[in-house]
Amino acid sequence: MSYKFEIKDANLHYGSFQALYDINLDVPQKQVMAFIGPSGCGKSTLLKCLNRMNDLVEGCNVEGDFLLDGEDIYRDIEVTSLRKRVGMVFQKSNLFPMSIYDNIAFGPRTHGIKKKAELDEIVETCLKQAAIWDECKDRLKKSALGMSGGQQQRLCIARALAVKPEVILMDEPTSALDPISTLKVEELCTELKRKYTIVIVTHNMQQAMRIADRTAFFLHGRIEEEGPTERIFNNPHNEKTREYIGGQFG
């Protein structure tokens, strides 16, 4: 099996507070990997390391190796091209206050695509890939903020797809959505993993069971256990994992 991400001996400090301890993790190619664990356990922090959004946090200090296809993302790869390759969908939709079209086209334009025909094509394919084309094809020029919450989140996914990433990071993408919208996003994930590697942070263990191929369980800044989702949920080796999944804390 080939690995998309290899993380070796990673430690992370916010100022004097250590948020991640000795993380070692391999993320396989074209699968869905879920990060689960109670809040404040470091799962979002690790996710944000993968496209260096942690750079924004003042006093954040990352140690260890993060390899994307064998290249060190903190040393060898230029940060904007890293984020082009590793897209991200946030907890709350952060569509820009512009038209749907301009939202989707923002990424490609950023990376130098100027031709109208080419942009049109990208917008259409991405919206279709995100299974939202039918809902918004007649209102591409209208403000994206007029869509419902679930639609907005899928538009965010479409926008992330538009820069042709290799990996999509999702930070609790459904935590603010209703069950039906959640289901749609989940279906989308299963669809997308054929072409993309997906890492998803979730609070919802059922969600991890439904969509993830592998699951990592975080506690107090450490990965307590990692493995195929089925085994983690049915036969956890670690005592703490068993307690968490059994609903004893978190």
Partner: protein, 277 residues
Amino acid sequence: MQAVFLVCACISILCVAVICIYMFAKGCPAIAKIGVAEFLGGKDWFPTNSQPSFGIFPMIVGSMYVTAGAIMIGVPVGLLTAVFLAKFCPKRLYKFVLPAVNLLAGIPSIVYGFFGMIVVVPFVRSVFGGTGNSIITASFILGIMILPTVIGMSESALNAVPSQYYEGALALGATHERSVMRVVLPAAKSGVCAAIVLAIGRAVGETMAVVMIAGNQARLPHQLTQGVRTLTANIIMEMGYATGLHYDALLGTGVVLFVFILMLNLLLSAVTSKKER
């Protein structure tokens, strides 16, 4: 006691009402006496001739020129300075830049005019030729004077933009600069527009600084190095000795200016109420 507070609260309404009534009641008949078309469209201003003519068109054009010039200088610089303060400025530097901007707002216009006289006029004279008392000089000084207005309002508009827009743009692989200029700045559009409207108002209404450096010739200018007279300058220069119809014509000039400012105010409240919605 509540009644006292209530009466005090009415004071600003009362002031605006009285000012409006006086300006229009005194100024409009004056304009009517001269004739609206002749007053607004007339190209000649010879108030003291035996056959006087009262055309303020040159002054309207003059005010427009210097205001446009001020906007062209002050808005880009002010906007980018606001971007700097909101998104680029290291914390340690902020403590020095912000007071500088605030103090710029506090400097009296007469001091700006004086600075224009002793520094900018000679400079413009040696670089562009002419007397130095010109559209360029006035635009430059006004451009500086509107900086604090543009910076203050734009910066707070930029700071009010939710940070998730910025993060979203970064996550798509945009640089810090592109995220700020293409996502954060457009999102702050209405605040920036309000700042520009306010700045236009300040530039149009400025009197002392302009009268000291703009040359004040009441004729249509053909070059940027020529002097102009603005509406405000027209009033301050001649009101002291004007009598009769001449005085009325100056009141009329005031009314034109006043109407323009009121329209800008309406525009401003339209822009800000749009933002709230």
